[in-house]
Symmetry: C2
Subunit: 139 residues, 2 copies
Amino acid sequence: MKLTTKGRYAVMAMADLASYANGKPISLTEISLRQNISLSYLEQLFLKLKNKNLVKSVRGSNGGYILVKSPSEIRLSNIIFAVNENVKTLSCKKDSKKGCNHKSTKCITHNLWADLEEHINGFFEKIKLEELVNKDKRF
Amino acid sequence: MKLTTKGRYAVMAMADLASYANGKPISLTEISLRQNISLSYLEQLFLKLKNKNLVKSVRGSNGGYILVKSPSEIRLSNIIFAVNENVKTLSCKKDSKKGCNHKSTKCITHNLWADLEEHINGFFEKIKLEELVNKDKRF
DNA sequence: ATAATTCCTATTAAATTAGTAGGGTTTAAA
DNA sequence: TTTAAACCCTACTAATTTAATAGGAATTAT
Ligand code: FES
Ligand code: FES
């Protein structure tokens, strides 16, 4: 079980954005340099973050991105969700009555994985972007 | 972030083993049929489970596998760990002072991921195999 | 003997992830 | 009005990982 870069980068970039926020837009080039993330990859992520209304963009020279809400109003779950890095623990269709074993009942571990999913989502929901950038930070 | 089949199958198979335990060894063929998991794949998993002393094997005709300990003494973390499906949330070397960003300090999100790892491991540590197979089961 | 079974390694196929590429559009500022 | 910095968007490719298959050896009850 591995955390992939998409979610990791998204959170890193948002934390960077929050840390260096100064009212003016921050360009992806800056973030790319500071966090060592490929610019083009960042662009892809920020498209999604923008679609989910977590950041807004300013085009043209001197442009960049700005947080739409304050870091205290952004949960990590929002970020993770925006880039489609939700945890997927079930191998069966959630709605279907069929199990991952192709039988007519859910498998013996189904509820376990469902629980795990909640447990992990809970973690991301609990934490706000603020907590990553605060001086007296928890992280 | 996805739970892969290795950990999932390992837990399923161990739960199956616990459910159908009757003192006699249970063959992988049975488990394979009941849980719809490729026999050969199961074999690979059980080699590892055996190496970690979670099951013991009985070779030859009528052979199979038997749990070494009672389901109340086996934590899911033991199973997950046995098949190397531990969660890996960090992209940097844990011991190194260098960060995932190739800089000399850990990145802004490092402690967050470390926390997440603990959080998930905690989940698996908390739950015993017993809880998956009990009549009055939680799952 | 035979068939069922574990044991073990190697290989391949499939899927996913990570990253690159390339061209378009917008805009501040020289 | 030209230029350069930036966002915008899609497609493609490379790399890695996962899942599964293959094939045979060793063991043992019947
Ligand atoms: S995970 Fe849902 S039935 Fe197995
Ligand atoms: S994850 Fe450890 S430094 Fe970024």
